[in-house]
Amino acid sequence: MIKAQNVYKTFKTPDRREVKALVDFSTDIKKGEVVVIIGPSGSGKSTFLRCLNRLEEIDSGDIIIDGVNINDKKVNINKIREEIGMVFQLFNLFPHKTVLENVTLAQMVVRKRSKNEATEVARGLLKKVGILEKENGYPSQLSGGQQQRVAIARALTMHPKIMMFDEATSALDPEMIGEVLDVMKTLAREGMTMVVVTHEMGFAREVSDRVVFMDEGQIVEEGTAEHFFTDPVHDRTKLFLSQIL
């Protein structure tokens, strides 16, 4: 489903230093797989996600999604993005639109669905994430957890093949993390291909097929959750786990 081969990505900081975000990064993600990426901040986790839908352009290497090299000049990136849902740390709901409008807009503009059709799809998904009763409210009237669930519903309206979560619970108050993780777990059980950057080790343990530990733009260690949490091999992984667990 997703194949990253020898991907390099470098950022220039405002003071012209170069920061290597991804260094010769390669991985394969199969259809239906739930991959959790963990690692210290600045390790390139989010950068990898953002390269998958070209919010960031890679310097070299190949990213192939569903058989299409997404960095190909001829590729219509908007078509690819329709297939990859993304959920952000800060939700990024559209503050000037109601909940329902947030969830119908892209359907009408991008998928060219009629308003009725879009509303029907939207209501179905708002119900799924348990927030249908707020459909006429504005994002600012919702709690963080509710906003993030709307954001997940918004991404799902495009019927993506892949869902990416970029620290989706990091900005939430502790008591709201659970409601968002529950929605993510439901998706995982339904067989969605998911790439999840998170600090929620419980989620990684419970639903992930594979845990990837990144540091300094590279994969240090990867494996099943069980292997990863009980029997890590690398010292760097052990150190990280000892700091967070």
Binding site: N53, L55, N78, K79, R81, E82, I84, G85, M86, F88, L90, N92, L93, F94, P95, H96, K97, T98, L105, A106, V109, V110, R111, Y138, S140, A151, R154, A155, M158
Partner: protein
């Protein structure tokens, strides 16, 4: 529009200032014969216009005709300035160096030369080549002038919107133009209403400069009336008051729109 307490207070203060100035002039022993009675007929009068048009009916006086023309040229210029400004604001943020360079040159060129000079150039040079009427030339000059300022305001507005908004839109498959149209610009415009209002008010006042190309706006009509009658104080007070009517209405209208749009915050 709700005529609320705040606007009432503003009006009262303006009235007090006006009355004070009036008394200052009259009580300081300045022997000026006021002829306020001549002013109403410059606004409206009942009678024939000329020998060619002898029908007796209610007609607009010279100042009211000027008021209407100023209103027309201001509305037209605001309309075009917003269009120019939106295009320029987006172009200023383009990834394309040529587009960015061109829009920056436009802004710098227009902002750093006097409007009066621009009006003369557009009317006498461009206007005579393209055979533009004074109204079209005047509207063009004002639109191009205000467009540069609006462009900078729009640019700042777009930049003030969190980049996550563009990323969320794009990650849903929207193109750049769609994201701008549905997500970024609506939020940006809401945020820039106060500086835009200031710009529009400036534009209404700056429109008095088009009187130099014999466009019969409020200022021009006022000058002509003064030249005819020598009632300089009365006429210029009235002209100022009429400009105030336009700008104050604009002020109130934008505050109203601002409050209405604040609902989703």
């Amino acid at each position: 529009m709700t005529f609320n307490k705040r606007s009432l207070i503003t009006l009262v203060i303006l009235a007090i200032i006006t009355v004070s100035i009036y008394y200052f002039f009259t009580r300081r022993g300045i022997t000026y014969m006021w002829h306020w009675e001549k002013i109403p007929e410059m606004l409206f009068y009942h009678g024939p216009k000329s020998a060619d048009d002898p029908v007796v009916r209610l007609r607009m006086g010279v100042l009211m005709m000027g008021f209407v023309l100023t209103l027309k040229i201001s509305v037209a210029s605001i309309f075009f300035a917003v269009i120019i400004g939106t295009v320029v604001g987006i172009a200023r943020l383009s990834n394309e160096p040529v587009t960015r360079g061109l829009s920056l040159s436009y802004v710098e060129l227009i902002r750093n030369t006097p409007l009066l000079v621009q009006i003369y150039i557009i009317y006498f040079f461009v206007g005579s080549m393209l055979r533009l009427s004074p109204f079209v030339a005047g509207t063009a000059a004002l639109s191009i002038f205000a467009g540069a300022y609006v462009g900078e305001i729009v640019r700042a507005g777009i930049q003030s919107i969190h980049k996550g908004q563009m990323e969320a839109s794009r990650s849903l498959g929207m193109g750049y133009a769609q994201a701008m149209r549905y997500i970024i610009l609506p939020q940006a415009f809401k945020r820039i209403i106060p500086p835009l209002a200031g710009q529009f008010i400036s534009l209404v006042k700056d429109s008095s400069l088009v009187s130099v190309i014999a466009l019969a706006d409020l200022m021009f009509q006022g000058q002509q009336a003064v030249a005819r009658t020598y009632y300089a104080f009365e006429i210029y007070f009235t002209v100022a008051f009429l400009y105030l009517v336009m700008t104050f209405t604009l002020s109130m209208a934008t505050q109203y729109v601002e409050r209405r749009l604040a609902i989703s915050d």
